[in-house]
Subunit: 329 residues, 2 copies
């Protein structure tokens, strides 16, 4: 069995640290790790895999060392500059930023959903936006069975999605202002920047990435993205209309049999997905499964997942695992 060299870029950030945790848990054999970060954080000592790692500053020559894989979680600007350098040196980059997601020659991958799209990648593979990942994991098997006609998303997104500063703002209370307004005791209907069409970039990520991943470039989708004062795990109210009719039993059984999903929908016993039960898990949790009686073939779902794990680190690592498994490296 061959050995692999994996670079973690942005190892000291929230997603980077979550990646280290997930890698420790998975303990994929025969991997040698190198931890990169910004010049500011270089030299940070991190306990990982039972030993001490010292983070290195990411520089252009970093990828001369012959890496097989890199997980980039250091923001779009770092990805734009360094991912093409890594790729040109034969390293397969799994990029957590939005830099390349909508590029035609960059596959946007959720392993349970569209791993087949990875063929012909050009060494850059994009990890979707956190809120999109958890939605498509649930929607894909339903689309396969009932054909989605339209989606209306309303999200309840945790502050960890905005990194350490997001968590700090929630902890610091009403005076903190890393967000445009205090997140403490508020829901903020703005995630990422506003675009000319009056949507936020986050809202359009959900629209465009869902279309790309499900392979329906013109699927009617709308989205309202809201930050909520919760530390970790995004919630989503998903309203979906299908071409074909269904029963709630059929939907529930399909979801139960699908990969990466845990159905929590025992309303008699107050069991439905909530953040505090989802945090630390790699699955997507779905509940409140019920007909939308306002339209033919309408369905409402409540979906929760750990945005740092399945929404970011876990998904990236699953892509690497699957590339190894399928002998695609």
């Amino acid at each position: 069995m061959r050995n692999y060299k994996l670079a973690i870029v942005g190892a000291t950030g929230l997603v980077g640290r979550t990646a280290l945790k997930v890698l420790e848990e998975k303990n994929i054999p025969n991997i040698e790790y190198t931890l990169f970060c910004s010049s500011k954080s270089a030299g940070t000592k991190l306990e990982f895999m039972g030993k001490e790692y010292i983070t290195k500053e990411l520089v252009e020559s970093s990828f001369d060392d012959g890496f097989d894989f890199a997980i980039f979680s250091a923001g779009a600007e770092t990805s734009k500059h360094f991912a093409p350098i890594a790729a040109s040196k034969g390293c397969i980059v799994i990029d957590n930023s939005s830099a390349f997601r909508m590029d035609d020659d960059v596959p946007l991958i959720v392993p349970e959903v569209n791993f087949q799209d990875i063929i012909n990648h050009k060494n850059i593979i994009a990890n979707p936006n956190c809120s999109t990942i958890q939605a498509v994991v649930v929607l894909k098997p339903l689309d396969d069975n009932f054909k989605i006609k339209r989606i209306v998303y309303s999200t309840y997104q945790a502050v960890s999605g905005a990194g350490k500063l997001g968590l700090q703002d929630l902890e610091n209370g009403p005076k903190a202002k890393n967000f445009s307004h205090p997140i403490y005791d508020n829901c903020l209907p703005k995630i990422d920047v506003f675009l000319i069409n009056r949507y936020t970039k986050e809202e359009m990520k959900m629209v465009n990435e869902t279309r790309k991943i499900l392979g329906h470039p013109n699927l009617p989708i709308t989205s309202t993205c809201v930050r909520v004062p919760v530390s970790n795990c995004h919630g989503e109210s998903i309203n979906v209309e299908f071409e074909k009719s269904f029963t709630i039993n059929e939907v529930t059984n399909i979801l139960k049999k699908s990969q990466g999903i845990i159905v929590q929908d025992d309303i008699q016993n107050d069991i439905y997905p909530i953040a505090s039960n989802s945090t630390g898990h790699d699955e997507v949790f779905v509940g409140r499964i019920r007909k939308d009686y306002s339209i033919k073939n309408g369905l409402n779902l409540w979906v929760v997942a750990d945005n740092l794990r399945k929404g970011a680190a876990t998904n990236a690592i699953q892509i690497i695992e699957k590339l190894i498994e399928e002998n695609m490296i």
Copy 2:
């Protein structure tokens, strides 16, 4: 000018205390107040209108004193028992509970929206559910202009909607359990009890009360109601489809001209409705006004209001003011 006698039933609860605050601010002339509460809280001293009031226990003979009005905010059971007694003695009851809202001979009133429905009331007038009130204030003028075809609600509801125990749970952190799960650091997709159709009672209140207030008994509406860790002011992501076409400018101008609404939609300057700016106000705040491009004549809105004020106390008091103003007593 004649004098009026007004009973506040449930004066020591969150909505009751908010009613006292709103009444002090409005200082409606020629009103004499009596404050009622449960036997448990009877004798509580409350500073109100510059003097000390002592709350009285509500008993069946309480309404023998010839009240003109009563505001009931003591839960559905108290309303079911005492409101008919008050009404039979000539007192006009404005009932904040869900006890009578869907009764055919009980008008369900939001003054800006359907005050005309109040004629022929039989001394019980229902105050709608908090989350419904703020939605219909915004939807009514749009329905008048563009005719609503379908509504998809997703709510972000504050803990004050669950009374003092709700606020306590949020303050007490992860161990508190007045809700079915800790609200601290969680969004809970359950408000009120579950019904046989898998919706919560809160979700069906939004569906049924919106239909009744807008006067469209079969309007297609679906709803997902979620409690969020915010102390006061409900948020709502409202997706609405109209019969007629519209421009965003038209929608914005109509909302700006409508009663009881403040448009906050200057995204360049990060101005949109948030709880901390809406608390203590009687208006309904609306922003994030944008086309839903996934459907013909689709619109997305973000609506925030103080659920204790416009969602409960203020709306009830506005009904009384208007009855006096229109010489309907």
